[in-house]
Amino acid sequence: MTLRNVKETGMSKIHCLLAIMILCIILVPVTAYLIGGWYAYWGHVLLAIIFAVLAVFIKTQYYWEED
């Protein structure tokens, strides 16, 4: 694999992860509207945690910086 291919594969993975993160945000009001109650309340937390894990994964995996 050339360096360019490696970079492109990495970028497409990042885009995929970003899309999941955006989906997590969109699903928050959707679950509130469609499900409601406790499931929505704790479901929002779950979506926020998935968002958080992906954000830190992208940072540590692709955008890690040294001093």
Partner: protein
């Protein structure tokens, strides 16, 4: 039949005072111990860049969880049912994770002599004007934020010691002063870490205890579904609390859960505000180099700590289940905000009520003290020293001490003359502005080379003008009646201003930017 509200006896009062005294003592001892180890005042403030992930993580939790989260969320859950959850911040973990990802680069600026957020902006944009404006914006927004903290602590003091509310406000101001005099104000990472652990443990314990006390999740969901919204003062409506929106027309100027525009605005507020709070992102100033594994440890801490506000929201739901809407007509001007205090007394007795009082003290009084210090240094360091660099350090120190008085008194007077009925929705006004302005001006500017000082300046000015146009301030004069529209206009208008003005103005030369933007490694 609705059970009676608990009444505080002398034992409760003694327990509360003892718990607060114990918290104060531990904080002071920690502060003094760390001061002994530090070689200078500045080193004491931000450390020697040797603070690890555990301490930084919990310190971040402490600075994020103010009186709003540890106390006000119960008022939201109690007054609004499920629709209150938007301001309770069910998605706040997403925002704190963004702060973790973005804020770590603050470390870079410490090596360049930076000790505060406005100073960081001076270095980033090579502009004293940006530093001064950021300092000014912080003063305005933090005064509003302090009002909510006063109400939180005064409410706890009122109910647990049977002191009149306005007397409790004075007691809170005195406690702030004591806290400042004995040195707790510096909010060293270690003291903040201790506070973060305390808030997390007490929040989780109280939430789970209240859940069981009210009869479990099913009973709570049934009870909330059957109840209708009651205005503070006791006027009842026919709007059920069973949905995630509460379409009461007269609430649209202050409540995010009134419709899905407000909901979306609240979600973005929580996404941006952890990074936008200057006192939050400043936590990274003392952090040492962190490994990838330690980064994940910090995230775990933020998740555990970030669930605390949700547990406090549960306390509000539980109180609504047990007492119905009784509190909406009780204890003016406290009303529904008293839910957490009564629930802590009923569900956990004196031990939990005392621990909860100490937690609210930790969250609100320490936050007021920290904010008073920030505002005072904004005046001396970011405005006076900025304009007159030759002012002696001794004079600056005296001026800082002198400025503590007005910054304790102004929010005290505000709370005294017009206390907000639901403190969290009031504080959300300041949070939106801090999120809209500083997420971009501070957070994004650390990563976007193309950001310019004019982009930052116009964003701060735009954000401040929109802050004044809050529907509860002057917004109605220009047709802004809806909290959600206002909040979206502030946050996305700030973003648009920041990016557009930056793109049409000249950034710093590349060689100057090199030292601020490290090369990334995969």
């Amino acid at each position: 039949m609705t059970p009676p509200l608990p009444e505080a006896g002398p034992e409760t009062t003694i327990g509360v005072i003892a718990a607060i005294a114990a918290f104060l003592t531990i904080s002071i001892l920690l502060g003094f111990f760390m001061r002994k180890k530090a070689k200078s005042f500045e080193e004491w403030l931000v450390g020697r860049r040797d603070i690890g992930p555990l301490v930084t993580g919990f310190a971040l939790v402490a600075s994020y969880l103010s009186g709003w989260a540890i106390f006000g969320n119960a008022g939201l859950g109690y007054a609004y049912g499920w629709s209150g959850s938007w301001l309770i911040g069910t998605t706040c973990v997403a925002g704190t994770a963004l702060c973790l990802v973005i804020g770590y680069r603050m470390r870079k600026y410490v090596a360049l002599g930076v000790r505060t957020v406005p100073e960081m902006l001076k270095v980033r944009f090579e502009s004293r004007m940006v530093q001064a404006l950021a300092g000014l914006a912080m003063i305005i927004l933090l005064i509003v934020y302090s009002v909510g903290q006063y109400k939180a602590m005064a409410t706890v003091w009122t109910i647990t010691t049977n002191t009149p509310f306005f007397g409790s406000l004075l007691a809170t101001a005195i406690l702030v002063l004591v806290y400042l005099i004995v040195g707790g104000y510096t909010g060293t990472q270690w003291v903040s870490c201790f506070q973060g652990i305390l808030l997390t443990i007490v929040g989780w314990t109280l939430g789970i205890t209240a859940l069981i006390w009210a009869g479990g999740p099913t009973k709570i969901a049934e009870a909330i579904g059957m109840q209708t919204f009651t205005f503070h003062g006791g006027e009842q409506t026919s709007f059920f609390l069973s949905d995630y929106t509460l379409p009461v027309q007269s609430l649209q100027d202050r409540f995010a859960g009134v419709d899905y525009f407000g909901v979306v605005a609240a979600m973005f507020m929580f996404l941006f505000m952890a990074t936008g709070f200057p006192h939050n992102i400043a936590r990274f100033l003392g952090t040492r180099k962190i490994t990838k594994r330690e980064y994940w440890v910090m995230l775990l801490i933020l998740i555990v700590g970030g669930l605390t506000p949700l547990w406090i929201g549960v306390v509000g739901f539980a109180a609504r289940t047990v007492w119905g809407d009784v509190l909406m007509a009780t204890n003016p001007p406290i009303y529904g905000d008293s839910a957490a205090v009564y629930a802590s007394m009923s569900a956990g007795g004196i031990p939990l009520a005392s621990l909860f009082a100490a937690s609210v003290f930790a969250a609100s009084v320490a936050t007021i003290a920290g904010m008073v210090m920030i505002m005072a240094t904004n005046i001396t360091r970011d405005l006076i020293h900025n304009a007159y660099p030759k002012t002696s350090p001794k004079k600056l120190l005296w001026l800082t001490k002198l400025m503590l008085i007005p910054f304790i008194a102004i929010p005290l007077w505000w709370t005294f003359t017009s206390p907000p009925p639901i403190l969290s929705e009031f504080m959300a006004g300041s949070a939106v502005a801090q999120a809209g302005i500083f997420f971009f001006v501070v957070g994004i500017s650390m990563y976007w080379k193309r950001a310019t000082k004019w982009g930052a300046i116009t964003t701060i000015i735009y954000g401040l003008i929109l802050t004044l146009l809050n529907p509860n301030a002057y917004g109605k004069l220009v047709g802004l009646y809806h909290w959600g529209y206002w909040a979206l206009l502030l946050m996305f208008g700030s973003a648009l201003t920041y990016f557009l003005v930056s793109l049409v103005t000249k950034p710093l030369p590349e060689e100057k930017l090199k030292k601020l933007f490290p090369k990334r490694k995969s």
